[in-house]
């Protein structure tokens, strides 16, 4: 028999037992009466000795009836339930995969134990599922054994940022159906109850934390310098130590003191020489993810540009303002050709280019009509209303052209995507007579165009990323190209667009075959996850237990009989009490 009490509060009714005893003691407490025949009583002293109080109560029938009533009433109030023979306990435990759970891993494991502790005895079959709140991640465990589920918890790595639990809860509810139990184990109470009837167990506790909150690396006078933010998330002042590590060399620990919520910027140069990677470290605290800040010396891809122009070197001057752009003289050695269009000029289809019209007649009127930008990433959000362009001959449009900017019916800027992969930005105006060089929108457009080309360029680069940041790595895609490699992990080319930085802080590389494509560092800088001041304990295990009992147990079928017996006991007790009183009165009469 697997008995469970649905309402343990009903056990308070057992207090009725001492109450009944107390009442009977009060009723039966010593009455003070004068007795002139004490010598007779003392002759029978052995018979009338004062025994224990329970012995005194033994012979009282109403007393025992009332005790039985209390026990029956308790039985009815606690709502005993028996486990159904065909009961299947379906429990899905959804583990919050937010990075902040790193600080509460041990309490989270205990919470899982507590939830598993709600499982009924061997009579009930269990179907257990362990999910992470990352809906895209596979389930951690699905089976029937609590022990195996505990082992599967080792795979649980809370590394995500703030995310919505709803998709994971939807999946969980779908797995267990309406009768099952969905438990979300997180580190903070949710502002509103979660959807899909999930019960929440929060294992968090307000905890002090200091961590790296971000970094920028800039080149200044030929020297790369890092600026790292260190933030105190606590409500009290905190002191920590930090150091930098470059190769085998380590700087000494230095103290840093931060007031409540204070952010400080720590700066330093990259070491000279060939050392490309450094790491900043903070002394350990509750959340270790934000205590390491790995960095690489940035090495952007450099585009080479060949400017083909006339007498006035406007193109060279225009493009020399963009960073990481190298001017070359031979068009065949460049990544990009900038030129003034002539009727005889033709660029190979696989080459990239940026073309302008030849200078227009200075007497030609300026174009009239409203300037309208097409929805395209290159021109999105740019203001072209100040662009003044003189009338000139328009190049005929081709089928692969995409007009980016119109003035009236006349295209001003066209993006031509060549079938062989060349990308050509064709400006239907000249730089000399137009004011395009002074227009910020035009500068941004060129920058975006150059960045697109830079991104697509097959060349090694070095950069710093956030953990799990989406990576765009130019790589070979021809039939002979091999898969990408992120560290030791092999990424099929079909999934290259899903490439992300590692979830844990650290240095990493992306290669294709033996060709290095990206040398990078991933750092944790999620300030929302690092803030542990909102973590609070919260527990709905009682609700879970109630749901378990409600769905897996059947009620006592004899409760009506017990109720009837209770009433009979009540009447009997009343009758015994009264009849005894009447007998006394009759005997006195």
């Amino acid at each position: 028999m697997n008995l469970t009490l649905a309402n343990t509060w009903g056990l308070w009714a057992l207090l009725g037992i001492p109450a009944v005893i107390a009442i009977h003691f009060l009723q039966r407490r010593n009455r003070r009466v004068p007795a002139t025949t004490l010598f007779l009583l003392q002759q029978m002293k052995r018979e009338s000795r004062t025994g224990s109080r329970f012995e005194r109560l033994r012979t009282s029938i109403p007393f025992w009836l009332q005790l039985l009533m209390v026990l029956l009433l308790t039985w009815l109030l606690v709502q005993p339930r028996w486990l159904k023979h065909d009961a299947v306990q379906r429990i899905v435990i959804v583990m919050d995969t937010s990075a902040s759970m790193q600080a509460f891993r041990a309490p989270a494991l205990k919470a899982v134990d507590d939830v598993l502790g709600l499982l009924e005895g061997p009579l009930a079959r269990a179907e257990l599922t362990l999910l992470s709140s990352d809906a895209e991640a596979p389930s951690l465990y699905h089976g029937t054994l609590a022990g195996e589920l505990r082992q599967a918890l080792a795979q649980w790595e809370p590394l995500l940022g703030v995310h919505d639990f709803t998709p994971a809860l939807r999946v969980a509810r779908g797995l267990v159906g309406q009768q099952g139990v969905v438990v979300l184990i997180t580190d903070h109470p949710l502002p509103v109850p979660p959807l899909f009837g999930a019960q929440v167990v929060s294992v968090g506790q307000e905890t002090d934390n200091v961590g790296w909150a971000g970094v920028t690396v800039e080149e200044k006078d030929g020297q790369w310098v890092w600026h790292a933010l260190v933030k105190n998330y606590s409500l009290t002042a905190q002191g920590r130590q930090w150091r930098a590590q470059a190769g085998a060399a380590e700087s000494p620990w230095k103290p840093v003191k931060l007031g409540p919520g204070e952010t400080q910027t720590l700066s330093g140069p990259f070491p000279a020489g060939e050392i490309q990677q450094i790491a900043l470290q903070l002394s350990e605290d509750a959340l270790s993810l934000d205590n390491d800040l790995p960095l690489v010396r940035p090495q952007p891809k450099v585009l080479s540009l060949c400017a083909l122009e006339g007498k006035v070197p406007l193109l060279a001057e225009l493009f020399s303002r963009y960073a990481h752009l190298r001017m070359v003289a031979v068009p065949g050695e460049s990544d990009l050709v900038a030129a003034v269009m002539t009727p005889s000029f033709a660029l190979p289809e696989q080459r990239h280019g940026c073309f302008f019209q030849a200078p227009a007649d200075e007497t030609a009127p300026y174009l009239k009509g409203s300037i309208v930008a097409e929805p395209h990433a290159l021109v999105e959000g740019l203001n072209w209303q100040g662009l003044l362009v003189r009338e000139s001959k328009v190049m005929p449009r081709q089928s692969q052209d995409r007009v980016l900017l119109w003035q009236g019916e006349r295209p001003l800027i066209v993006l031509r995507m060549m079938p062989a992969g060349g990308r050509q930005l064709i400006c239907q105006f000249d730089l000399e007579t137009s004011n395009a060089r002074k227009l910020p929108a035009f500068a941004v457009l060129l920058h975006r165009f150059l960045e697109e080309l830079r991104t697509d360029k097959l060349a090694p680069e070095a950069a710093n990323f956030d953990v799990r940041q989406h990576l765009v790595v130019a790589h070979r895609q021809d039939a002979e190209a091999g898969p990408l490699k992120l560290g030791d992990q092999e990424i099929p080319l079909a999934q290259a667009r899903l490439l992300r930085a590692p979830a844990r802080p650290g240095h990493f590389t992306v290669r294709q075959g033996e060709t290095p494509l990206l040398t990078a560092a991933a750092h944790f800088a999620d300030t929302r996850e690092a803030d542990l001041t909102q973590a609070k304990p919260f527990n709905e295990l009682d609700k879970i237990k109630a749901v378990q009992i409600e769905t897996l147990h059947e009620t006592d079928p004899n409760w009506r009989l017990w109720l009837l017996i209770l009433l009979l006991l009540l009447l009997s007790s009343w009758w015994f009490t009264n009849s005894r009183r009447e007998m006394k009165e009759v005997s006195r009469a």
Partner: protein, 294 residues
């Protein structure tokens, strides 16, 4: 204020007792008395009209009692003797132990019995002597003090004690009617006490007031019995079986007293405190010879 302390109530009680004494009297007629001249026939010769005997004249005899007719016939002085009429002697002993006044009804009945005995004796012209007794101590109560109802102070002078009344220390008069008013709730053997009432030609009468709280207490449960003599509590648990044993022991106790009284020729009448006084007194008083109808 208890009845014993209320002099006015005691005087009222005596007024009522006079009425009772006119209906039921102490059994003076059942005995020959010695003593001063009175209304009851004495055991000796006297000056009543009842002829008793003849005897020879002896010097010192009253010459007025010489039977001159017999002298004329026989020439010998002979005396004609008549029955003596005397006033009976009554010694009243009131047990003033606290148990006598433990219950209001019992106190009332005890004082009623005492008043009745006094009034009955006085109406009979008896020579009355009253004692209040508590253990070995006793106090003489003059009739006038009793009739004034102000004898409480005398009684209260006696130190409360648990001891059994020591009757043999009382100066009981020979040939007196000895009326002992007591509840007889003593742990001692009745023989020794009752013997004192019947020695020296005494006529013993015992009036024993009894309360229902003693005969049928109806105890059930835990009690803290207060000993009226000492005021000390005694815890007992009384259940039906024990109560039954108690009632049996109570009955046996008075059966012993009655047997002892019968042995010593003492009339013992238990007088219930609950019933009307005359009815209660008649119930055992007449059958035991403790009282007689007027």
């Amino acid at each position: 204020m208890t009845l014993l302390e209320d002099a006015g109530a005691l005087r009222t009680l005596h007024v009522r007792a006079r009425g009772w004494a006119r209906v039921l009297k102490l059994p003076f007629r059942q005995q020959r008395w010695r003593g001063h001249a009175g209304e009851f026939l004495g055991s000796g010769t006297g000056s009543s009209l009842d002829f008793q005997d003849h005897r020879l004249y002896l010097p010192g005899d009253d010459p007025r009692q010489i039977n001159w007719q017999a002298y004329a016939r026989t020439g010998t002085y002979s005396m004609k003797l008549y029955r003596e009429e005397v006033r009976p002697l009554v010694d009243v002993i009131l047990d003033v132990s606290a148990s006598m006044f433990a219950f209001a009804a019992k106190e009332q009945r005890a004082l009623e019995l005492f008043a009745y005995t006094i009034e009955s004796a006085l109406q009979s012209g008896a020579t009355l002597r009253c004692y209040a007794i508590a253990g070995a101590q006793h106090q003489l109560l003059e009739p006038e003090v009793i009739l004034s109802g102000q004898w409480h102070s005398r009684v209260s002078a006696l130190i409360p004690t648990q001891e059994t009344p020591v009757l043999n220390r009382l100066p009981l008069r020979a040939g007196a009617m000895r009326v002992f008013i007591s509840d007889l709730l003593f742990a001692t053997e009745p023989e020794s006490m009752l013997a004192c009432l019947s020695t020296r030609s005494g006529r013993g009468i015992v009036f024993a007031p009894q309360a229902q709280e003693e005969a049928d207490p109806g105890w059930d449960g835990n009690y803290e019995f207060i000993d009226p003599e000492t005021g000390l509590p005694h815890e007992h648990r009384v259940e039906a079986a024990l109560l039954q044993s108690y009632e049996s022991a109570y009955r046996r106790h008075f059966e012993l007293w009655k047997a002892a009284a019968q042995k010593h020729g003492i009339a013992l009448a238990r007088v219930s405190a609950e019933a009307d006084f005359q009815k209660a007194l008649q119930l055992e008083g007449l059958s035991s010879g403790a009282v007689e109808t007027a």
